[in-house]
Symmetry: C2
Amino acid sequence: MKARVTVYPRREILDPQGKAIRDALTRVGFPGVDDVRAGKSFEISLGTEDLQAADRQLREMCEKLLANTVVEDYSLEILGGAGAQP
Amino acid sequence: MKARVTVYPRREILDPQGKAIRDALTRVGFPGVDDVRAGKSFEISLGTEDLQAADRQLREMCEKLLANTVVEDYSLEILGGAGAQP
C-alpha cells in the first residue's frame, strides 16, 4: 500500500521559506501570489494492505521521525484509496 | 484559489534522502517500509479564481522556480476543486 505524508509548518508558526518563495515568485513575474507555504512530502510504500494498520503506522512514523509536531502539522493520504486526516 | 504543488525526484533518479529516511524508519521500528521517496510540497494562494489561468500559472512557476525539471517531476492539485496532472 502506498501513502503520502505531507508535513507543513503549523499555521501559527512563521514560515520564512514560504515567504522567500513567494517573494521570488513575485520577482519572476507572478505578482498575483498571495501566500506560499513550504513543506515536505513523503511517498511511502508500506508492506501492509490493512488500511487501519497503515494509518496507525503512518501516524507513529510522523510522531517519531517525519514531523516535528512542536512546530509542524502532518496529514496522511492513502494513494488510490480512502484518505485520512490527523 | 489555493493549489498544492508537489515536487519529487524523477523515478529514474536516485533519491538518497528517501533511502536515508527508509533506513531510519527501519531502525526506529518500521521494518515493513519498502520504499520512501522524499519531495517538496508547496501550498500556494493565487489571486485568480480561473481554473485554466491557475493551472497555466502553476506550471510556469514549476518550470521557472519550484522544480528542477531535469531531475524532478511536479504535480499540481487545486485544493477543493478539480485536479490537474502534468
